[in-house]
Homo-oligomer: 162 residues x 3
């Protein structure tokens, strides 16, 4: 078993199934696009273990609390790890994380985006360690995010492969 | 004639002239910045064939319909192909699309950003084919976009060169 | 003394101290993440010379004028140069700027994001020159940005190293 997946298991994390696309939605692009030793990660949202999108939905600071959004950012990390595993076969192929762009569906006046995206960053550092998991990051407030009433968190980025 | 441009022509698509910068606006950066085998694409908006910015302007979900915004995303793709052609000389130099960040000027409650940016993605896949055209993507809702009343769609990204 | 730092000094620019993280905020990521010859730059805000976040805070077009925001974008550039210098040791290691993503905390109806981010771009071109400093760019309007009442400008990007 790969080192990263053993670590995930020992921490009790479960990678969700591939995303269940909501009815009537077309997403004509891959979740991870590998070009040479670079893996570009499409914008992911939080998923339940069965691959369905995870709520609560809506704006952080209004319908969604910071604590809930922190958990949703962690779930978004697990969604991304699922897509990376399905594309790469083995998460140990990741040599290092590059950049992460963390988007928070933000109610007017909500400015704690970093505290939300920490749910993602702490997961990645826990699982990959400080050196491989280390990433440049932005955590910012979007006007709207896709799907139904709007996912609360969306994250995209890039990792480098061995 | 290059393969990609023949394809564009056979599909009836017309690459617009270089962007006409609105009066009083300074944009001190290139539309495409090539470094080694990477071409970084600046944020583009939809253009008319003469290079002027294309409307309707304003927020999708209010002043602009999803159908109109889909067409504007396609036009933004043609703007980008124009900039790439002028910078690279030949669109066949593109070995593969990497990442695309699709920004939709979104009215409150509008969450169909993916359906809008599909106008871009379908163009790129049609013109470059599944393998070269394939790209990681985000499609998200911005509070405001530049120029006048605000362009409805803006897209940036990166392609890899031969 | 490095060429870039001599230039900064001759232009009268002062690189601020490392960012003073506001109380109670955890930012578990580096300001610059180097992987091979790529340096990924995390989202930075404007800083005072002592490293504290610089105001005015809030939304450009409401609490913050375009002229103030232009200065804040320039200060954000100096924040980024500080992080790059601390990480790289010498700013002359920068072979070329790649991409820049300029985010403006935008009041409803404010669409002059490019005029704001020009404060950053003009600094970079002045200091690095046209060839090294040239970068692909987006300048767009965010719903909210982090910290207190919200920083007015945040910028992230990537530079390539020798």
């Amino acid at each position: 078993m790969s080192i990263v997946e053993s670590k995930l298991e020992s921490l009790g994390f479960v990678i969700p199934e591939a995303m269940q696309i909501p009815e009537g939605v077309k997403l004509p692009f891959p979740w991870v696009n590998v070009r040479g030793n670079r893996a570009f990660i499409s914008g992911h949202g939080p998923q339940n273990p069965d691959g369905s999108l995870a709520g609560p939905f809506g704006k952080v600071g209004a319908e969604v609390t910071v604590e809930q959004a922190f958990e949703l950012a962690k779930k978004t990390g697990l969604s991304i790890l699922g897509s990376l595993k399905r594309e790469l076969g083995d998460l140990d192929r990741i040599q290092g994380w590059g950049r992460v762009f963390g988007m928070v569906n933000s109610a007017p006046g909500f400015t704690q985006q970093p505290a939300v995206i920490n749910g993602f960053t702490e997961l990645i550092i826990n699982v990959f360690g400080d050196e491989v998991g280390c990433h440049a990051r932005s955590a910012v407030g979007m006007a709207e995010l896709p799907f139904g009433n709007g996912i609360a968190v969306e994250i995209e980025g890039e990792v480098l492969l061995r």
